[in-house]
Subunit: 322 residues, 4 copies
Amino acid sequence: MSRPTMPVADLAHLGHVEVLTDRYDESLDFFTRVYGLKLSGEEGGSAYLRAWDDYEFHSMKLTAADTTGVGHIAYRVSSPEALERRVAAIEASGYVTHGWTDGDLGHGRAFRFEDPFGHVFEIYWDTVRYEAPPDDASALKNLSSRYHAQGVSPRRIDHVNVLGGDVTAFRDWVDACLGSRVTEYIQLDNGRIGGCWFSCNNKTYDLVCSEERGGGAGRLHHVTYATDTREDILRAADIYLENGVHIETGPHKHAIQGSFFLYAWEPAGNRIELANAGARLILAPDWEPVVWTEADRKKGQAWGLKTIETFHTHGTPPVKKD
Amino acid sequence: MSRPTMPVADLAHLGHVEVLTDRYDESLDFFTRVYGLKLSGEEGGSAYLRAWDDYEFHSMKLTAADTTGVGHIAYRVSSPEALERRVAAIEASGYVTHGWTDGDLGHGRAFRFEDPFGHVFEIYWDTVRYEAPPDDASALKNLSSRYHAQGVSPRRIDHVNVLGGDVTAFRDWVDACLGSRVTEYIQLDNGRIGGCWFSCNNKTYDLVCSEERGGGAGRLHHVTYATDTREDILRAADIYLENGVHIETGPHKHAIQGSFFLYAWEPAGNRIELANAGARLILAPDWEPVVWTEADRKKGQAWGLKTIETFHTHGTPPVKKD
Amino acid sequence: MSRPTMPVADLAHLGHVEVLTDRYDESLDFFTRVYGLKLSGEEGGSAYLRAWDDYEFHSMKLTAADTTGVGHIAYRVSSPEALERRVAAIEASGYVTHGWTDGDLGHGRAFRFEDPFGHVFEIYWDTVRYEAPPDDASALKNLSSRYHAQGVSPRRIDHVNVLGGDVTAFRDWVDACLGSRVTEYIQLDNGRIGGCWFSCNNKTYDLVCSEERGGGAGRLHHVTYATDTREDILRAADIYLENGVHIETGPHKHAIQGSFFLYAWEPAGNRIELANAGARLILAPDWEPVVWTEADRKKGQAWGLKTIETFHTHGTPPVKKD
Amino acid sequence: MSRPTMPVADLAHLGHVEVLTDRYDESLDFFTRVYGLKLSGEEGGSAYLRAWDDYEFHSMKLTAADTTGVGHIAYRVSSPEALERRVAAIEASGYVTHGWTDGDLGHGRAFRFEDPFGHVFEIYWDTVRYEAPPDDASALKNLSSRYHAQGVSPRRIDHVNVLGGDVTAFRDWVDACLGSRVTEYIQLDNGRIGGCWFSCNNKTYDLVCSEERGGGAGRLHHVTYATDTREDILRAADIYLENGVHIETGPHKHAIQGSFFLYAWEPAGNRIELANAGARLILAPDWEPVVWTEADRKKGQAWGLKTIETFHTHGTPPVKKD
């Protein structure tokens, strides 16, 4: 699984994730009041949300639905030319494509396509930058909007983790369609890949695929926003506790990728993480993926916390038991 | 001063900085015992130092000299082809070049050239990755070496700040020779640029040029390493205090770039910073530089701390007063 | 200024401080929305406020007035017998007394008396414990109320600092009337005491008197609440910045008492501090006061920050300039 | 289990704990290099250790033995008169006493006695204050010695937790012999007390007795030192990880007492905690003990972490299985 030196990165960064909820009002209350995202607008049954330093109109589209999970995952590309290159590559790859959409409140036209497990991705160049009105402008001109200190208030979107029946197939798809680098992965004793972490820029990862073990398809494992400090995450745990939010596991430190984390379930059941990577970045252009074996994984998280059972079974939407 | 969309980044990241000292033993003691870098090797009057998670053999070359300041500044490029492209661009630019060197303990051949104020830069592809011996290997396989918790122990090199007589000229030189983006700058009322921050990747900056106001030439303002947390920096202040290190200013938060900082002078007088940027990155491929006016600057640092006088006058080497 | 071994502590702890404001609405907005105290009740032109883990009905009484500064300072005693002992001692001391009051919303009868500079103090035993209604009860039964995460939200009241024309006289008064220990003080070269820190329990201090240098009488220097972490204070600085609150100085670390601090002025001009002492307590029953000389003070705060001018001149109410 | 208002506190604070080790050299290396205590002296097979801001000569006596666990637990009293009062009360109580000892390197004569399970306690007034030699003196004159930043380097001793077959009997013994307050306890459904937390001053606790469920007698559950910040504890987890120290559980936040914690086993198997209580103190003179039921305990720690099995079974010395 060695990789060539970093290719021209056509993808610039993860732009936004559409999260589906069958408890729209409760989920919106969680994401704004407790988690601390800001509402940029609502339209057509969706709320457009962003963290206070996300520069775009939104980084989460929360959509009322009769199910949960992920609606789509969007990456912004590096240039108009990069968009053309990527679309050409995707179309040539033979994977399922949905073609162009006109975009929505948060960005211009976008090209949609599917990973092997039915998760919908899109890429776009034209975006809507968030223009803070005076009462939402920061005192510091290099911030996208005011640090409002509401609830947890993370700084920006960080990554999304999907579930897939065959992580190797997902990796091949990323290679063909996204062109992102693999930064770390789990090599199971049975020869399969248990999980794989990808990045299209200097972040340690912005996309993860974990092996689906619950029989679902196209499911979401979690969406994550980044905080500036680990203390923000300890404080978040108290905020969750006082607001009756289900804390699944954490705060603790991941062995893989080394980020400090906290997992909770928003009211509709979607798993939402907070993470802090410290000053860790992938700066080496010839970074070799770090390989974790099952023996490594048996040590638990960095400081020994055992991974709890629901982490391997809970995804959204839940799998119906007949 | 608007910039095109992000070009193909030929430079991958700041590799290392050579710091000159006329108190070699004291400086080496500071950088290893107090600041917490690790010694990879010594040769020819130079110590090769690295932070515990720098992946290369060294990120600082500390060289015994009869003066202080910066010996050279090195960037690693993104690929062998990027090296060729950059060298061709530099040679075509008409700026002073020194040509190829064979490298040293820490990397292979490198191409050297000068900025308009005599600071020597070099770019290289072939590097020496740090291979941790068993007693320096981390318990976590994604770290370059063991977190040794000696002194401050920052995670990685972050940036270098040089002084130049004409920051606009420096910016033009960066544009021609490095190809880095401008992320923020100070626009003085007199039409000059007071300082300019550059980045060749998603970090908010890795290179700064501030206006030289002390009559020196080719001087260093400071070198900075990044810590994982702000608490590391508060703790560093206590470590400096107990070790008799001159704290110049901080801990506080920069208005420009928003990083939490602490400035100290190592025993030979070179200014050494610690910084933490939180989760802030420049992810937008079409980032517009943030412009700070003199009126903005009069507000002081983010939380109101006034910039102290020596910050504008102290550089290394000191300017001789006749 | 040596002290005997710890006397029976008749005073249990600082109970509350009455702060006067000539901008009641703005001050109340600051203390609740920005600083993060909770409103227990309003009556007779006063708001009764408490931090989320203060166990009493209030720790601050904010009173609308045509001036600013401190209305009164209240200590809870250790027992009914301690109250009798203290009142007897105060009455025997010859200092000015006001006699008994019936108390107010927050406590029962109290005995009032004056320090040599006209600051009114009171002591009481019967108190009103805060009984959290269900929507303000914490998920943790050992907390006085819910951690609401509004604004800064410090945990509890910490100390009050008054200004006095003669700190030695104040110390003698404390000795006679309060019976608190001196934990640290400033010995000026001119033989006067520049400032003196007192504690009636294991906290490093709960009361400070600094020398009045502005010609005022009975003035307040500041009131302080304690946060659990230094990070809470760094975060507070951002909250102040985004809410247009005047940050006077900090965040930084005091040399005297070693607490991490941040000073701001609430809308009416009263100086309000946030402080964190870490794990530092005065546990030694025979603690010898730490003496700071002018030479010590010239080193500035712990990490070298110079004490800013207004810190020596600004008190409330302001002194009228005729 | 209600308590009267705070009695005159004869005990001032926990002074030191004697820890037995059958791996003396390894334990000493752990406590000095990794945990970050300082060695005041060695004599008679014991090392006298203290945290950098403990004011006495030692707060831990580490003694080479053929077993592990606790040698004795020492409290300093508030005055010579308090010592007399306490000894008289203990002698009148009918519990086992050992009588006077001459003290050791760290303090003067002490009176020894036993709790119902054979743990040896002692109380003393005459102490040996630590006088820092120049190279160990702090730059801040209110600190007992230099913050040396070696390993974890907690600030001061915090508490000790013993195991007892009948916690109610232990509580009665504390009432008779120590006179400390109960601040929190666990009320089991079977009518027994599962654990009880005591304090003789404003700290939330300095002594704990948990129900012995492993068939041992006179065993130690753990000894704890206090850090200034939660970040110190997160950093400690990394230090433990890199030094191969067994992390048992944490970092996490206790529901009971609310402290942030990390448990590890030193090389001989004694459980050693790090804890941070934030700004929480017991200031109310009429504090009512907080009662935790089994139903409360089933919620796990504050943020939901389940208490791991070894926490209920591991004590030192281990119980021999025949």
